[in-house]
Symmetry: C2
Subunit: 339 residues, 2 copies
DNA sequence: TACCGTCATCGAAACGTTTCGACTAAGCGT
DNA sequence: ACGCTTAGTCGAAACGTTTCGATGACGGTA
């Protein structure tokens, strides 16, 4: 493989000049630059990533941190990954996957101490995420998908739950629904302060209030049985509900089954709207679920962009909130006329 | 950050001795080794990945190639990714994500020419995959998840479709089913020679034959409508079918709906068995689907292990086939008594 | 005693870049 | 005609490893 030395020789200049021409670190005359680029072309030269990294102390490699435990990665998270990789590539960076127990400090330290990565993107951020402390100690720049409780000046992108739930409720109210339930994650998850669960519910309540409708809330474990139980509870307490906003992908099958067992059809008797889920999930059901799709592409992309900007001394603001977009499928319809 | 130099000084030896002690490249006396490791510990020393790569010409970074187009990554593929990353980590390697159009030679060349990666793992391999040629030209070692048509001596892991379909059919026959349908991918996909579609069907036919049962075959597009159409066709031609083996995740919702529209219940009237799918998918339905789960962990892991072995001059055999494992859930039951 | 092979260690040269200080020649104001 | 800046280039020293050839000490064999 051709090295910078070969290019220099062929162009009749020294290697430092070639380096300046490539990186624009110092001025190079128009004429010389042309000769150098010609030589590079002729030789099919590509800078050697490792050598460059060693000398410049910048690897142009980013780590994507995710924790395998927890609820496990889903389709939505998968899109973060691929979109983040694309975004990184566009900016000349690479993305390495780093799956690590969320509390394993040694493991995270290991990652950075080798000098392998310039920065990190954190997925599945928790309200009180221990990784953030580790990263700060290591002085490793990072961006988050999600937010911590405090979120003080850290780089992050997150779903705009306020706006998302507001849009969701508006859609239902627009169809004539007045008694709407919010099916959240489990109470344990909510109590632990998991961001989406907390912010989602808050957004829902605010939206309901603004719309002058009546809201019910119910929690469900992240599995079909949890969904079924939740519907049982809900229908027992509030049999007059006509629409359910769900923010719990895995509970959905149970919800649907429980409704059909009660001879309630979707969307004639009850409208269903899935929030912060992926189209792939929504289309698994019959009828396909109307949903507020997560802007995973944007989240993945923005997080990388923030990080790269910071690394290249173009400090980014961060803290952006992007709303989910409403996609109407078959599970929402006009509220039933009579009760 | 401590360097090898610091370690050497503290241990009272030269850097080359330290290097030998770390890598085991040459013998080092027990006493010296102890002193060196002590020094490393004291200083919290970690070899600098880039420097090591530059000097040894081995980066210990592997690329994971996937093409964004196609049918899009699903939950099963996601598991490949995370498991491959874990396996790589265990062996001291890193995994970078490289999403590339399957035919984009320049892009693949770009990847290797920088000397960034030692080898590649290919996901979603096609029967006649152009990437393989590129990689061979570049002399970049690689392993595949899936197989090409020829598969001549290339490193690969794949699902053992013969064994898997055989187990699936046996399970159903054991429940008394005698007329079993195989719901494949679409005819187009099958005709294009997509490996799983071809090998799956072949395995099914062989298993049916061996079991002395009757087999029907039907194709479906990878979406709910496709599934519904397929059931329509199947029930029209062969209303006596009592079990369906499905190898088409995305068509499943349509299948279930079409069955219920015909007042056929699962599993009382018809047993459903999903092949080569992920538990996550199987549990989305009511009743949860009995399935042959893809050993994604093993596939991801093995592919990395093969590649690493080859890189470290322990040539691997490759070409392993691993079967899916049967997980009985609620969608299969005894064949209906009468017809 | 002289010689040879091992074992353990040393010193120095790579690996392919970036970057710093220095040098030259040209352009400027005075 | 003088010094001063500036654009353009050079040479050499990093960056932190691995690896090769050489060296010295030691024990065994002739």
């Amino acid at each position: 493989m051709a090295t910078i030395k070969d290019v220099a020789r062929r162009a009749g200049v020294t290697i430092s000049t070639v380096s300046y021409a490539i990186n624009g670190t110092r001025p190079v005359s128009e004429k010389t630059r042309a000769v150098i680029f010609q030589a590079m072309d002729d030789l099919g030269y590509r800078p050697h990533a490792m050598a460059r990294a060693l000398a410049s102390k910048r690897t142009r490699i980013l780590a994507l941190l995710f924790s395998p435990l927890e609820r496990g990665l889903g389709l939505t998270e998968l899109e973060f990954v691929t979109c983040a990789a694309d975004a990184a590539k566009e900016r000349g960076y690479h993305l390495v996957l780093w799956s690590t127990e969320i509390h394993d400090e040694e493991d995270i330290r290991h990652l950075s101490s080798q000098g392998l990565v310039d920065g990190a993107v954190l997925m599945e951020v928790q309200e009180d995420d221990p990784r953030i402390g580790f990263l700060q100690d290591l002085k490793l720049p990072f961006a988050m998908i999600g937010r911590t409780a405090a979120g003080e000046g850290l780089l992050s992108v997150d779903i705009d739950f306020g706006r998302t739930l507001s849009d969701a409720v508006d859609h239902l109210v627009g169809l004539g629904h007045q008694r709407i339930a919010f099916l959240n994650q489990s109470r344990e998850v909510y109590d632990s302060g998991y961001g989406p669960a907390v912010r989602g519910l808050a957004g829902f309540e605010a939206a309901i209030q603004r719309a002058g409708a009546t809201g019910y809330r119910v929690f469900a474990h992240a599995n079909p049985a949890g969904g079924a139980d939740a519907i049982g509870e809900l229908m027992n307490d509030h049999p007059d509900v006509t629409a359910i906003v769900m923010m719990n992908d895995r509970a959905i099958p149970g919800v649907i089954q429980a409704l059909s067992e009660r001879s309630l059809t979707v969307p004639e008797d009850v409208s269903l709207l899935s929030v912060a889920s992926s189209p792939r999930v929504a289309e698994m059901f019959v009828p396909a679920l109307t949903s507020m799709d997560v802007p995973s592409e944007e989240l993945g992309r923005l997080s990388v962009e923030y990080l790269v900007s910071t690394l290249e001394d173009r400090p980014a603001e961060g803290g952006d909130l992007v709303p989910c977009t409403l996609v109407v499928r078959g599970s929402t319809g006009s509220a039933p006329q009579s009760l």
